[in-house]
Subunit: 196 residues, 2 copies
Amino acid sequence: MTPEKIEKISELLAHWPGIGPRQARRIAFYIADLEKKDIIEIADAIKEIGNIKRCKSCFFIHNEAGENCLICANSKRSKDLVAIVEKETDLITLEKTGKFLGRYLVIGELSKDGILTNTNNARIESFKKSLGGEILEEIIIALSPTTKGDVNASVLTSLLEKSAKKISRLGRGIPTGGEVEFADEETILNSLLNRK
Amino acid sequence: MTPEKIEKISELLAHWPGIGPRQARRIAFYIADLEKKDIIEIADAIKEIGNIKRCKSCFFIHNEAGENCLICANSKRSKDLVAIVEKETDLITLEKTGKFLGRYLVIGELSKDGILTNTNNARIESFKKSLGGEILEEIIIALSPTTKGDVNASVLTSLLEKSAKKISRLGRGIPTGGEVEFADEETILNSLLNRK
């Protein structure tokens, strides 16, 4: 009944975060109703994401000419303080406070059970290698205070305990069960100040 | 802070049904994390939607070789009974019952205030023209029983009253599996009036 091309895109969209099979189909039909030029604009904008660059140091995505993002290229940012975040959006939320003057490591989507993915492991390895035996002042494990965040924080702490004098987590200014990404700036700022 | 390419696709995605700005950005970053070949697959599948065909009679989208969809090309389907639906997905839902043996007119997204869009008007004109003065047995205005559906149903009824002997709407009542106890007054009243 449903045209094949609609089925195809519906299946792909249903894998996107927060989109179920029903909404995916609704979106597919919505796209089918757009003007052809608008459809091509969307397709091209998505294709462009494939050409985005990732920082060689922190793995944040960026538009810069060099290999590093603006944060890692900024010599005023402390090399002795690193916040480990799960996602790019977490980094952006922390950065918006304007009060964090260290650097980041975007570790990539974590699993619920604390088993690190290949991406997670590769980024940790690259991070450790970049330290070259140097011991940092502090690593802030800026994961969400959820069960998943707690499990992964333990794993990361044991992997990184020799890389910094202190390993901290964000203060529980964030309501338990909440997500870093959605916290307001004030809460995030307090959680930075109250880290322990 | 957020890379330009991410902003660009986020803005486009935020126009999709059921997607807000925050989810749009989350999806954009999700796409950025995919393998390049997967990103291209999505972009190509969306582009393909631009090449989809729309039935010359009912405006449903289809994959057939000819101008018409399988329903309109089926000589067993009554030409004297037409259901007017808003969206392709509504047509699919009605079609799944297997009990409707008439034809359809997919009128396209309707506005809340009952002012018909250019698409709506063009499809009604094309439908009337295809009748060539013939008077149908019945037109079922199969819009949702919502304020928006009611407003638009009145508009369509007055536009089409000369095109059919009878103009009906879908029956209202308690949905199968629904509890009398929890039905709202309007629904209960309708279920009493439509009892059989």
